[in-house]
Amino acid sequence: MITIFEVNETNKMIEQERLDVRTITLGISLLDCCDSDLDALNRNIYDKITRLAKDLVSTGREIELEYGIPIVNTRISVTPIALVGGGACRSPEDFVEVAKTLDRAARDTGVNFLGGYSAIVSKGMTPTDEALIRSIPTALASTERVCSSVNIGSTKTGINMDAVKLMGEIVRETAEATKENNSLGCAKLVVLCNAPDDNPFMAGAFHGVTEADVVINVGVSGPGVIKHALEGVRGENFEVLCETVKKTAFKVTRAGQLVAQEASERLGIPFGIVDLSLAPTPSVGDSVAGILEEMGLESAGAPGTTAALALLNDQVKKGGIMASSFVGGLSGAFIPVSEDQGMIDAVNRGALTLEKLEAMTCVCSVGLDMIAIPGNTPASTISGIIADEAAIGMINQKTTAVRLIPVIGKDVGDTVEFGGLLGHAPVQQVNRFGCADFINRGGRIPAPIHSFKN
């Protein structure tokens, strides 16, 4: 029988250490919505999403109340729209109409974000892929809840450098199109390498073509819980440190698994995966940087940071994997800057640079995330940063991503406020040397030698 101490431990995690389920994401295939007529396509998309997701938000609230664990977000991911809209959309403007339909569906179902305004172009771009990509700046400027992602490379295919070049320009155009709003559009746009089909986290969530018609994926969180557990083992050796992270990650993931199963049962929709990520928020005590500092670093970004993050990421996976029947998505530690007060502090005190962040992305679960850079950063430099991240992902067979925000009108030393979970960020220095000739070569980088395993 459960004891009062165990009950108190769980409730302390929830009340004081900010344990929560970060998102219940409903993945919906839109492949059966395809039509050659744009109006019919929009109607099919709206009808399918609102039919399947009508009880999503209320079910989330119900579970939250009955189990006493906060469920922060309920979201939807859909099939990459470049595939769905291919038959009906002849131009970027046509795709923008689909984005508006998605936005309306998201609003009417009550979810806070809908992901999947996406194109998968890891080896090459079709004309419809390109039209979707070119529509992204307008689509993100004219919608509120739609998130966009573009997969520009993979370990199996190499890196599509034409797409990398284009995405540098698109990130800049998106920043321009939303400059009245601190270039917020870029917070809803992520460029990926090795993008997973079942990621429940935004902005990179989409419902891949390998997925079933509809599925429930859940993203857990809990940096505060890990940090608190580590406070109890100060000065102990690495074995004790790792065991503590692992055991705590197990408990955190079990909560996610329970919520996923409950949501699946109540909605009558199959359970897909639990994404066992440590996702920070700007709230004090909910920081991944805080965990690294608790391990013994003076500040996140100090020498030792990459090793500390590597062990954290690995132990989170080791603890979490046994706690869930299906693990997927991104799974690991997220290191966004604007969404993590500890990371923001580290940047402000000069301890954490873009280059150190890049090194950290080799061992964390994703990549350069929510980083504000000067508004006058050239598109080719943004492409260069995307190419670097994609190369890390391609060679190390992991997901990497870039979500940079070139804040129009702001420079190093300024701070930008994005609001809510997106937080605020100091504008960071970018290496001022150019790479335009490299980016302008065109074509693609071949798949690495270790991808040839057949």
Binding site: I4, L65, Y67
Partner: protein, 90 residues
Amino acid sequence: MSKTIITVAGKDAVGIIAKICTYLADNEVNVEDISQTIVQGYFNMMMIVDTSGSSKPYAEMVTELEVLGDEIGVKIRCQREDIFTKMHRI
């Protein structure tokens, strides 16, 4: 249906258990186990209850117990047992 765990925490006072048990009895909720400690004047109690005989919707009970806690001056949480067993038992 799984059991429910009710936890009560706050400053000790006369009649805390009586008031909560009266509410539970009125709503046909069966109390199966109670464990309780008082540390430095602070009251800490856990009840394992069975709500299967109750006609009250679960969400309503959660809210009403919270309100009752506010009246008594303690924090009352009502949660399905699974959240604890899943986390602490393999």
